[in-house]
Amino acid sequence: MIRVTLALCASLWAASVQAAVDIQQEVSPGGIDFWLVEETSIPFVALEISIEGGGALDRPGKRGAVNLMMALIEEGSADMDARTFQAAREALAASYVFDAYDDSVSISARFLTENQTEAVALLRQALTDPRFDEDAVERVRAQVLSNIASDAQRPNRIAGDAFYAAAFPDHPYGSDMSGTVESVAALTRDDLIQAHLDAVTQDRVHVAVVGDTDAATAGAMIDELLGDLPRTSPPPSEDVEFGLAGGVTVIDYPTPQSVALFGHSGLERDDPDFFAAYVLNHILGGGGFESRLMTEVREKRGLTYGVSTYLVPRVHAELVIGSVASSNDRIAEAIDVIRAEWARIAEEGVTQEELDAAKTYITGEYPLRFDGNGPIAEIMVGMQRVDLGPDYVVNRNDFVEAVTLDDVNRVAAYLLRPEALHFTVVGQPEGLETGPLPPISGQ
């Protein structure tokens, strides 16, 4: 066991924010690594499990299998049908949330100390011995199909689907992992059993436990939950390049307000410039009301309720993306302003004042995230997924502080490419058509 006691410091006023998060790096008797924070003041435990693979493990022609399978984990297992299982869970006042993502599946559990033995046994049953009863499969399949139909009417989803399909045409990232009406309709019980074998495994698992427990109890619990899962899983998908050129795609949809999703390629999470890019994005559109885009698009011109940008370092591709929504007669102006700001920050960089303000916020806000057992467990699993050690919690703000003005402006010059931005607009925008964008105004 490795035990690291960490003090979370906001470095400019180190004495003031020191949330002691005592992360223990442990190995279960069965050999599964996990991180533990003992927090005995409230009698419950939060457990977070993430297994790499996810929707990308859908076999050819079986898009949506992992998603449907994860939705069925809570629909009956061993000798319990769906209702019996849920009644048992409700009687324990435990909660289990099963989710599927593009590159992982996750299990988030919360249970009382007083009945944790029963709560863990019930969760183990669900993970290792799901039934995939025919009536449950049909009921949940109908729910998934209903969600797919509903997404097809949501402007944000229409934009996202079109944007990613064009950016990653031959990769799982290019299609929604819920699948299509056709692919979901065709999934069989055998497909779900296969998806379970492929995606719920112990070879690429990350585990965090926070709450009223100790290393021995938690280790035994993790072995009970995961020890009998398959030890191998299929290889994950391949890395892929962002394949969408600059320009506009307009998708006609009858709504008074257009939504736009925009972006271009980005930066890997382990790139040496990642922290400079993170600070840069905060100044451009990642921060709150103070970001340049919020100031220019919302505060000065009233063109939108919200505009924001994100660095998205996914497992197999990296993006910088953003979103905005404006009335059909104003979205073209909002896009003009965004492009002009993109160009301005790439060419002129940021000011020392902006950099200092961004650093103070980013370092000061970090400890605020550690505000409960569940959030701490999620943070710890997220760190494991990108190969960070427990000491990242203490060093992270130093990485932010080390970013210089030169770093940010150097990264801005190569990372932010206004001519490469592609805007996918859903609505009935005035003055916008599919095709290349005109030269940036004011440049």
Binding site: A10, S16, V17, Q18, A19, E39, I42, F44, A82, F85, Q86, A87, E90, A91, L92, A93, R110, L112, R139, A142, Q143, S146, A149, A152, Q153, P155, P254, T255, P256, Q257, V259, G287, G288, F289, E290, M294, T295, R298, E299, K300, R301, G302, L303, T304, Y305, G306, S308, A325, S326, S327, T360, Y361, T363, G364, E365, P367, L368, F370, D371, G372
Partner: protein, 448 residues
């Protein structure tokens, strides 16, 4: 980033508002100028949540200026005598904190989450904007556009949100709960500076406000700071008694059809006028919390889920919702999204039959005890979320409840009996106080 949170889904969500902190962690007192103070201690992390809640929301607005409470909330991030426009949030951010605000029918609240030693600065700035905002004509013009875009984003682009507006407008014959928090578009477009300042001058006063400080703080320190920053603000002598137009007896069942081509799954939903938590009399509301859970809480074990999804193929989804926290009459609602091939009329008939059977069969004692256990556990889980506790107190104190009511609520919930629940159901399920809505992509499908 979201500046404002609404509670527009209250009708469709079930509220499990069971949890409070242990009484000894909560301290309350009042300042001489009438401002109430609630301190919730949680020393696990050196962080504080600082909130000021005003006992004024959209349901307190004058006729003709719907949306002014929410508009004013946006404008409080503009300039004061000593801060430039935007400087408030910039200062919070520069100190490593987050800030925001939200407006509902009964309250408007402002909050910051930040390192505990920054509390004095937060109080100084929040006290400043309680009496010193300085708006310009340009602020009004641009921010009015922002709230219009907000309405576009939240409401105009969402058939579900538009349907809920129509349902509430039909549910409330006389009370302002029938008017949307964000306002009707045509009135929002006409909001002027005088409207916002009249509202501000009257209602943004210490004797109409509640300070909630939660986190790594001690009551004596909070008291000293509160007296220093808020205690010097004079009380508003003309603050009116909070009297709002109440509902008359409702005597007619209302039925709506909302047609919108963007609806992907047609559904039927019905809301009934229902009693809310009242100070010293929360028992009926507690029974309705259980009723909501019994009928629609769990999609697997609830009455509607069991009867319409498992024992028949009527429904894809079912639900029940009850919003116990409200100053005036609230609503209890049930909804069914029919399975493919089932008409809304058949779905509604099946929903009514399920209700009738429930009234006949009564409550499964095993289900009742499961829900009781979950409500008790919710108290334990809630202690992990000090922000949530702060909101619980702030909301309750602006909705006519006292700290004692908040602290009594978990025990009142635990004491609810099957008889209480059935009596509450008898009271609430009165079609003459109900609105039944069909939300459809195409009206033509109703006749097929």
């Amino acid at each position: 980033m979201i500046r404002v949170m609404f509670l527009p889904f209250a009708m469709l969500l079930t509220s499990l508002t069971a949890a409070v902190a242990k009484a000894e962690e909560v301290t309350t007192f009042a300042l001489d100028n009438g401002m109430e103070v609630v301190v919730i201690e949680d020393h696990r992390a050196p962080v504080v949540t600082h909130m000021v809640w005003y006992r004024v929301g959209s349901a307190d607005e004058p006729v003709g200026v719907s949306g002014v409470a929410h508009f004013l909330e946006h404008l409080l991030f503009k300039a004061t005598d000593t801060l430039e426009s935007g400087e408030f949030s910039a200062t919070v951010a520069a100190n490593g904190g987050d800030d925001n605000a939200f407006t509902s029918y009964d309250y408007t609240a402002y909050f910051q989450r930040i390192a505990a030693d920054r509390l004095p600065l937060m109080m100084q700035m929040e006290a400043d904007r309680m009496e010193n905002i300085r708006l310009t004509a340009e602020d009004i013009e641009t921010e009015r556009q922002v709230i219009i875009e907000e309405r576009n984003q939240r409401t105009e682009t969402s058939p579900g949100a538009l349907a809920r507006e129509q349902i509430r407008a039909a549910q409330y014959l006389n009370h302002r709960y029938g008017v949307p928090i964000i306002g009707w578009m045509h009135e929002m477009e006409a909001l002027e500076m005088e409207d916002t300042l009249a509202f501000y001058d009257l209602y943004y006063s210490p004797n109409n406000a509640i300070l909630v400080v939660a986190g790594d703080v001690y009551p004596d320190d909070v008291r000293a700071l509160a007296e220093q920053y808020y205690g010097v603000i004079p009380a508003e002598p003309d603050l009116p008694e909070r009297i709002r137009s109440e509902e008359p007896p409702q005597r007619a069942e209302r039925r709506l059809i909302y047609e919108d081509g963007r609806v992907s799954n047609d559904y039927v939903t019905r809301s009934y006028l229902a009693p809310e938590r009242d100070s010293g009399a929360q028992e009926q509301a507690a029974a309705l919390v259980y009723l909501s859970e019994i009928l629609g809480g769990s999609s697997f074990t609830s009455v509607l889920g069991t009867k319409l999804t498992f024992e028949s193929d009527i429904a894809l989804f079912t639900g029940a919702g009850y919003d116990a926290g409200s100053l005036d009459d609230t609503t209890f609602s049930i909804s069914v999204v029919p399975a493919e091939g089932v008409s809304l009329a058949d779905a509604e008939a099946a929903m009514d039959q399920a209700l009738a059977e429930f009234m006949e069969e009564g409550i499964d004692p095993v289900q009742l005890e499961r829900i009781r256990t979950q409500l008790r556990a919710a108290e334990i889980y809630a202690r992990d979320d000090v922000d949530g506790l702060a909101r619980r107190y702030g909301a309750a104190l602006t909705q006519g409840l006292t700290v004692a009511d908040v602290q009594a609520w978990p025990d009142i919930l635990q004491a609810v009996t099957a008889e209480d629940i059935m009596a509450a159901a008898e009271l609430v399920f009165d079609l003459n106080q109900s609105v039944t809505a069909y939300v459809v992509a195409s009206r033509e499908e109703l006749t097929q």
